[in-house]
Symmetry: C2
Subunit: 220 residues, 2 copies
Amino acid sequence: MRLIHFPLDPGSRKIRLLLAEKGVECAYAEERPWERREEFLALNPAGEVPVLVDGEVVVSDAQAIAEYLEETHPSPPLMGGDPKARAEVRRLTAWFDRKFCREVTAHLVEEKIGKRLSGRGYPDSGAVRAGHANIHTHLDYIAWLIDRRSWLAGEQFSLADIAAAAQLSAVDYVGDVPWDAHDGARDWYARIKSRPSFRPLLADHIPGAPPPKHYADLDF
Amino acid sequence: MRLIHFPLDPGSRKIRLLLAEKGVECAYAEERPWERREEFLALNPAGEVPVLVDGEVVVSDAQAIAEYLEETHPSPPLMGGDPKARAEVRRLTAWFDRKFCREVTAHLVEEKIGKRLSGRGYPDSGAVRAGHANIHTHLDYIAWLIDRRSWLAGEQFSLADIAAAAQLSAVDYVGDVPWDAHDGARDWYARIKSRPSFRPLLADHIPGAPPPKHYADLDF
């Protein structure tokens, strides 16, 4: 199995965490999707990472990959045990994959690092301000859920926690998560950050854009 | 079962088509999500349609609803028969739900009708031009797929066809699908448009924003 990914891309991070949590052996190949290499576009005409290559099966779209891995490697289950539980996992996974990404990650990670790497200019300060303003509601929502449940979607660790941590870890890489104002979300993130599956993400290092010191620190 | 939806919202259209294809009895309640009614936000804090209420189970996010319906009403199967086939259905479903929506539907339907209904001003002409420019690639991609397969994701009609038709039907409501330049996509759409599941969508009528004459015409 081979995953084509970009280290700071939250969809790629979600699948790296999922593969590690499931203990699936996988080779990793880094792709800079904005270069639009022909061989890469032939695998995924959408031009987006991540892409999973499993023998003759090629899967793209992060959530399609997650569903594929849950079906082909069901143990440990990470999407809930029945349709109702799975609906809650999928609802929250979509919340972080899309709503959080659109309102926060795109404004901060894309503006601060994505634009520079792909030569599309400088961060838009209005966008960065919007990202800083929007993140609080999401951190409050995490704390609200964790007040009522052990993990985001229920009593079991699930893809919803993975999806949320994938987004937050990318924002944390640019130093923009206000942990000090959000104890509840920090306690939840500290539990995830200490999982063995998280170690490779904490070792990520984008040339020319190092993470802040607390990024890899388990006691942040 | 009750679906809370907005007629022109493509995610809502996707679930209406899916329910009809599966022959599931369902009550429909129209919601104008931009009004942010408290009772609605209590059901879905993301503030988005569609939301499915099935007894005590509340599911939001259109794809989470689709997966829930496929699990609870597996007949007829609309997501493929094995992990590989399902991966292709989910990849293309995500293509239309997100890529097509972002590059086309948001620029045309949201600008021309969404903004007016929610009192957020007038269409941005740059956005509308971008939508008109972007739609051709997508219609070409549909034709390319249909040259090789009976339906978008393979030999069986699937959620991928439903997701694509949900987006295109919303754009067709504002008269912005250049059918004359895209015979392959038109032939595929004509097959879907004539399915009984499509009839309620063709009867949709937004007060003050009637569809063009060809919208409900099976010979368009």
